[in-house]
C-alpha cells in the first residue's frame, strides 16, 4: 500500500477566513460533495484548500492541469519493466484508493475530454473505472474532489462542460476587503500594518484597470510579494514596480498610469 504521509500537511497553513467559506467547505466535506473554488488568480484558492486539508486532517493531492494532460496522466498507466508491464496509479487513482482530497488546480486548462474522467467520481457512483487495467476502483470514504476555476478571460475559449460544472458545489472567492487584505499582507510579508494598507490601496488602483488593458488587477499574492521586498529593505515604490507593475503589463501607457497611481498612494 502506498503511504500518503507525504501528502499530509503537518503545520497549519495560514488562512484568514473572509466569509463563511470554512463552514461551507466543512459541510460539503461531510457528504464528500465535489467542490469548485472560483475566483481570480492569486486570491487564495490554493491556500484555502491546503488549510482545509490540514483542518480536516486529510491528505491533499494536488494536480496542476495543463493542456497536454491526458486521462492517463490522471488515472495511471502501464509501464514496462524487465518482467513485463506494471500498472502505475496516477495521482487521481491514488487519491481515490487511499482517501485523499484530490485538488485539480486550473482545471479549464486541461482538455475537456480529459476532465470527463472525474464524472463517475463526482456523482453518487463514486467509482473510477480503469479501462486499460480492467478494474473498477471504488472510492475510499474520505475521497473528495476539489477543483479550482478562474472565470476570467479564458472562459470563451476554454470552459468546463455543462455536465462537468453541474456536479460541483461552488464557493466564490474574491479579493478580501481592504481591512482583511491588509491584515493578510502584513502577516504573510512580515511588514507593518500601515505599509500593508498602502499596498492594498495601490492594488485597488490596479484592479480599477481590469478590462482597460489589464487582464486582472494585482492579486493578493502580488501584494505579499511586494511586501516581502519591502521587508527585505527595498523602497516601497521600487518594490511595487517589481512585484505589481512590470509583471502584469508591457504596455508603456499602462505602466505609466500604474506608476502614477502608485505615486498618488504614497
Amino acid at each position: 500500500m502506498t503511504n500518503l504521509d507525504a501528502y499530509r500537511i503537518s503545520s497549519e497553513p495560514f488562512y484568514r477566513p473572509v466569509e463563511s467559506e470554512i463552514a461551507l467547505f466543512e459541510a460539503a466535506h461531510k457528504s464528500r460533495m465535489p467542490v469548485m473554488l472560483k475566483g481570480p488568480t492569486g486570491c487564495g484558492k490554493t491556500r484555502f484548500v491546503e488549510h482545509m486539508a490540514w483542518r480536516l486532517g486529510k491528505p491533499l493531492i494536488t494536480v496542476s492541469c495543463h493542456e497536454d494532460m491526458t486521462a492517463s496522466d490522471l488515472v495511471g498507466r502501464y509501464l514496462l519493466d524487465t518482467d513485463g508491464t506494471v500498472w502505475h496509479d496516477g495521482p487521481l487513482t491514488l487519491a481515490v484508493r487511499e482517501g485523499a482530497i484530490c485538488y485539480l488546480d486550473e482545471i479549464v486548462e486541461a482538455r475537456q475530454d480529459t476532465t470527463v474522467v472525474i464524472h463517475s467520481l463526482t456523482d453518487d457512483r463514486r467509482i473510477l473505472p480503469l479501462e486499460k487495467k480492467n478494474e473498477v476502483v471504488r472510492a475510499h470514504p474520505d475521497f473528495q474532489v476539489v477543483i479550482s476555476y478562474n472565470p476570467g478571460y479564458q472562459s470563451v475559449l476554454k470552459d468546463l462542460k455543462e455536465s462537468t460544472k453541474q456536479r460541483f458545489g461552488a464557493i466564490a472567492f474574491g479579493y478580501p476587503s481592504p481591512d482583511i487584505e491588509a491584515e493578510i499582507v502584513a502577516r504573510e510579508a512580515g511588514i507593518d500594518r500601515r505599509t500593508a494598507e498602502v499596498l492594498v490601496r495601490i492594488a485597488e488602483r490596479s484592479r480599477n484597470l481590469k478590462g482597460q488593458g489589464l487582464e486582472e488587477g494585482a492579486s493578493t499574492r502580488m501584494l505579499i510579494n511586494a511586501g516581502l521586498l519591502v521587508a527585505a529593505g527595498i523602497a516601497i515604490e521600487a518594490a511595487c514596480q517589481v512585484a505589481m507593475v512590470v509583471p502584469i503589463t508591457d504596455d508603456p501607457d499602462l505602466r505609466d498610469a500604474l506608476t502614477g497611481a502608485i505615486a498618488a498612494c504614497l
Binding site: E67, D68, Y153, N208, D253, A257, G260, A261, C265, L266
Partner: protein
C-alpha cells in the same frame, strides 16, 4: 530674366509648350505671368517634370474656381515645396485639383493657407485634411469654405493638434488609464474646442458625463505638462467622488460662486489625500502663488488656494489666514459635509466685499491651472445655457478629430498617388448595377438563369454621434476579444501524438505497442509525437440583414434588431481590426428580383475607419430578404481572398422572403443551394438567426451545424464574437 532658366536644355521645349498653353488659354495675364515666373524656380527647386505638370492644375483651377485662385497656384506650389518632396507635391497638386472639382469655391482659401498647412501637416495628414473638408461640407458650400479657410473649429483642431508635444493628443490615452486607476472612472476625455471661450480653453472642466481638457497648457515643459494633466484628472476624479450634489447657483454672485468653488476644491482634495497622500504632493507643486504683490481679489484667492493646499505656506494677509482657520475648523467638525464649502465660501465672500476689493468675473481664471472651471459642480437652474450643451458639442468634435488623425496615420507609407487616388474614389458613390445571378427553382430542380439583379448601393451615412458611439462602445469587450483572437491565432504549440515519425516518443503509444508485441500481436508503429504550431488565417465577410423587419423592436429588449446588429458587428470589427484579420462587412435587402440591394460597409482591403462606421451607422432597414442572391454575391468577394479559411457570416432575423415570391419554400431552397455552391468552393457559411421559430429554415439552409438560433437579441453583442472565435479555432 530668361524664362527658361532652371530648366535643363532637354526640357526647355516642353516648358515653352506648357506655359505657351497657359498664355493662350485666356486665363488672363495674372495667371500666365504667375506661372511663367514661378516655373523656372520650381524646375530648379523641385524638378522640371513637376513644373510642367503644374500647368494642368492651373488649368483645372482656372476653369472651375476662377483666375484669382489659378494665379495663386504657382506660388502656393513653391511654398509647399519647402515642406514636400516631389512625389508629395504631385499628390498635393492632385488634391488641389480634386478640391477644385468638388468644392470650387474653397480652392482660394486652401491655396492661401498652403504655407500653414504644409508646415503643420505631413502629406498623409494633408490628404486627410482635404478629404475631411470635402466630406464635412458635403452639401454646404459655406461650411466648406470656412473649413479650408481654417476658420472652423474642426479645421483648426486638425492643424493645431499635430506636432505639439506635451499636448493632450499624445497623453489622452494614458490620462484615461490614470483616471480610471485612481478613481475607477472611465469618462470620455475630450479636448476643449479651439473656438470655445478663452476660460474654457485654458482650464479643465467636466459635466454631461465627459471630461474636457485644454489642448495644451501654455508654458509647461513636456514632463511638467504631463504631471499637470494628471493633477487635473485626479482633481476632477475627486469631485466625482466627493462632490455629491451640485450646488444651486441661484441668487449667488460670481464672486461667491468662485469662492465656494475654491473651498470645495480644497475640501475634495483634502478628502482624496486621505487615501492617496501622494496626490497632495502632486497638486501642491502647482500652487505657486506668493505672499507678495498688491492685495487684489484674484491674487488673494490664489494665495488662499495655496494656503489650504500647502501647510508649510505662510501668508501675512489676514484674509488668507482667516480662510485657512475657518476651513480648518469646518474640516475638523465634519469634512464630509459638502455644505461647509458653501458656508465658508460665503463668509469669505463677505469679507472681500467689506475690503472693497474688485472681482472681475470675466477675467477670472481658476488658479492653479490644473483646477477645473467648476461648471460641473454648479446647478444653474433650468435656464442653464452653459455647460452640458457645450460639452456635448465638444465631445462630438473631439471624436471627429481623433478619427481623422487615424486616417492620416493609416495612409503613411503609401505613395502619394494612391492617397490622392483614394481621394477621388471616395466621391463616386452612385448605385450601380453590378451583377446578375441565377436562382434555383426547387420545383423544377433547375436554375433560372440571370434571374436576380444585385445592385451595390452607396448606403447612407449615419449621424456622427451614432457612428462614434459604435467606435467607442464597450471597449472592455473589444479589449477582451482582441486578446482572445490573438491567443487563438498565434496558437500555442500543440502536441500531436500517434505519428509515424516525430521528435519524441509517445509514451502511451509506445507502451501499447510493446504490449502488443509481447502479446504476439502486430504493434502499431505510430509511436512518435511532435509539436506543431497550427496557425490559421481566416477571412470573414459579415453579411447583415437590413430588411424592414429588422427595424422592429424586439419584445423585452432595448433596441431594434438592426441597432443590435450594428453594435455587434462594430464590436467584432474593432476586435478583428486590432488583430489584423482580413474582413469585410456588407448589408442587404431586396425589393423584388430586379432590385436586390447590397451595401458595402467595409471592403477587405479598406480600413475599418470612420467612413465605414458612418456607413454602418447609416444602415436603414427596408424591404425584404432575398438571401440566395446576396450569398452568391458575397461569395464572389470571398472567392478572391487567399486565406486558409474563408467564412461568410450571415446575421438575419427572419425567413427569406420577397414581394414577388409566394412559395415560402422557394427562397429557402434557393438560399440552401447558394450555400452549397459556396461550400463546393471551400467557403464556409455560418448563420446567426434571431428568431424564435428560426429552427425550421436556418438549419434547412445552412445545415444543422451551420446555424445558431438566438431568441433574445440582447445577447448578440457577446454571441457574435463568440461564434467567430469558435469557428476560428
Amino acid at each position: 530674366m530668361n524664362a527658361s532658366d532652371g530648366f535643363p536644355p532637354e526640357w526647355r521645349e516642353r516648358w515653352h509648350v506648357a506655359h505657351g498653353r497657359i498664355d493662350q488659354a485666356g486665363y488672363g495675364d495674372l495667371v500666365a505671368d504667375a506661372y511663367r515666373r514661378a516655373g523656372p524656380a520650381l524646375a530648379a527647386e523641385v524638378g522640371p517634370a513637376f513644373a510642367i505638370r503644374l500647368a494642368a492644375t492651373i488649368s483645372n483651377v482656372a476653369i472651375r474656381s476662377g483666375r484669382l485662385a489659378a494665379s495663386l497656384v504657382p506660388q502656393a506650389a513653391r511654398t509647399a515645396s519647402r515642406h514636400f518632396d516631389e512625389a508629395a507635391l504631385n499628390s498635393w497638386a492632385a488634391a488641389v485639383e480634386d478640391v477644385a472639382r468638388r468644392a470650387p469655391e474653397a480652392v482660394l482659401a486652401l491655396l492661401e493657407n498652403t504655407g500653414r498647412l504644409a508646415q503643420a501637416l505631413a502629406l498623409p495628414d494633408f490628404i486627410a485634411f482635404v478629404r475631411m473638408g470635402l466630406h464635412l461640407g458635403d452639401k454646404d458650400a459655406g461650411r466648406r469654405r470656412a473649413f479650408f479657410a481654417l476658420e472652423s473649429g474642426e479645421a483648426i483642431r486638425l492643424v493645431e493638434g499635430r506636432g505639439a508635444d506635451g499636448g493632450l493628443a499624445g497623453l489622452r490615452h494614458g490620462l484615461g488609464l490614470y483616471l480610471n486607476a485612481l478613481w475607477g472612472l472611465a469618462p470620455p476625455i475630450a479636448e476643449a474646442p479651439p473656438d470655445a471661450p478663452d476660460q474654457m480653453r485654458r482650464r479643465p472642466g467636466f459635466g454631461g458625463g465627459g471630461v474636457r481638457l485644454p489642448a495644451a497648457f501654455a508654458g509647461f515643459e513636456d514632463g511638467e505638462a504631463k504631471l499637470l494633466y494628471r493633477a487635473a484628472v485626479a482633481h476632477i476624479g475627486a469631485h466625482h467622488r466627493f462632490t455629491r450634489e451640485k450646488f444651486p447657483a441661484t441668487g449667488l454672485k460670481p464672486l461667491q460662486i468662485a469662492l465656494v468653488s475654491l473651498i470645495e476644491d480644497a475640501r475634495v482634495e483634502r478628502l482624496a489625500a486621505r487615501t492617496m497622500p501622494g496626490l497632495a504632493a502632486l497638486w501642491r507643486r502647482f500652487h505657486v502663488a506668493r505672499p507678495e504683490g498688491p492685495p487684489i481679489a484674484i491674487a488673494l484667492m490664489a494665495r488662499l488656494s495655496r494656503a489650504l493646499a500647502d501647510p508649510d505656506y505662510a501668508d501675512p494677509h489676514g484674509w488668507v489666514e482667516k480662510g485657512r482657520a475657518l476651513f480648518a475648523e469646518a474640516v475638523r467638525e465634519n469634512i464630509g459635509d459638502q455644505q461647509l464649502s458653501r458656508r465658508v465660501g460665503g463668509l469669505l465672500g463677505n469679507d472681500i466685499g467689506q475690503m472693497r476689493l474688485q472681482f472681475d468675473a470675466r477675467a477670472y481664471v481658476v488658479q492653479p491651472a490644473y483646477r477645473d472651471d467648476n461648471m460641473g459642480i454648479w446647478d444653474f437652474g433650468p435656464d442653464d445655457s452653459q455647460a452640458p450643451v457645450e460639452i456635448e458639442a465638444m465631445l462630438e468634435g473631439a471624436r471627429i478629430e481623433q478619427q481623422a488623425g487615424d486616417d492620416g496615420r493609416r495612409e503613411e507609407g503609401e505613395d502619394g498617388d494612391t492617397a490622392s487616388g483614394r481621394l477621388a474614389e471616395a466621391q463616386d458613390e452612385d448605385g450601380l448595377l453590378v451583377a446578375r445571378y441565377p436562382e434555383y427553382d426547387h420545383v423544377t430542380g433547375r436554375y433560372r438563369p440571370e434571374w436576380c439583379r444585385v445592385r451595390e448601393m452607396p448606403g447612407g451615412i449615419g449621424a456622427p454621434r451614432v457612428a462614434s458611439a459604435l467606435g467607442e462602445a464597450r471597449s472592455d469587450i473589444v479589449e477582451r476579444l482582441s486578446t482572445l483572437i490573438k491567443a487563438s491565432r498565434i496558437s500555442r504549440q500543440q502536441r500531436v501524438r500517434g505519428q509515424t515519425e516525430g521528435e519524441f516518443l509517445d509514451m502511451d503509444a509506445s507502451i501499447a505497442a510493446m504490449i502488443a508485441r509481447r502479446a504476439g500481436e502486430v504493434p502499431d508503429t505510430r509511436v512518435y509525437g511532435r509539436y506543431e504550431r497550427r496557425s490559421r488565417d481566416m477571412s470573414v465577410l459579415v453579411l447583415i440583414d437590413a430588411s424592414r423587419s429588422t427595424t422592429e423592436r424586439v419584445r423585452g429588449s432595448q433596441g431594434s434588431v438592426l441597432e443590435m446588429e450594428r453594435l455587434s458587428t462594430a464590436l467584432l470589427a474593432r476586435a478583428m481590426t486590432d488583430v489584423g484579420d482580413p474582413f469585410a462587412i456588407a448589408a442587404f435587402c431586396s425589393n423584388g428580383r430586379e432590385d436586390v440591394r447590397y451595401v458595402r460597409v467595409k471592403d477587405f482591403d479598406r480600413p475599418f475607419d470612420r467612413f465605414a462606421m458612418a456607413r454602418l451607422a447609416g444602415l436603414a432597414g427596408d424591404y425584404s430578404t432575398r438571401l440566395g442572391a446576396v450569398i452568391r454575391h458575397a461569395g464572389r468577394d470571398l472567392r478572391r481572398q487567399r486565406s486558409y479559411r474563408r467564412l461568410l457570416l450571415v446575421v438575419t432575423d427572419g425567413e427569406p422572403s420577397d414581394i414577388d415570391v409566394d412559395d415560402r419554400r422557394y427562397l429557402v431552397e434557393d438560399a440552401r443551394m447558394a450555400v452549397h455552391e459556396l461550400g463546393r468552393e471551400g467557403i464556409d457559411t455560418f448563420c446567426v438567426a434571431l428568431d424564435c421559430d428560426a429552427d425550421s429554415y436556418a438549419q434547412r439552409i445552412f445545415g444543422p451545424r451551420g446555424a445558431t438560433v438566438i431568441d433574445t437579441i440582447d445577447r448578440l453583442d457577446r454571441l457574435l464574437p463568440a461564434v467567430y472565435l469558435r469557428l476560428r479555432s
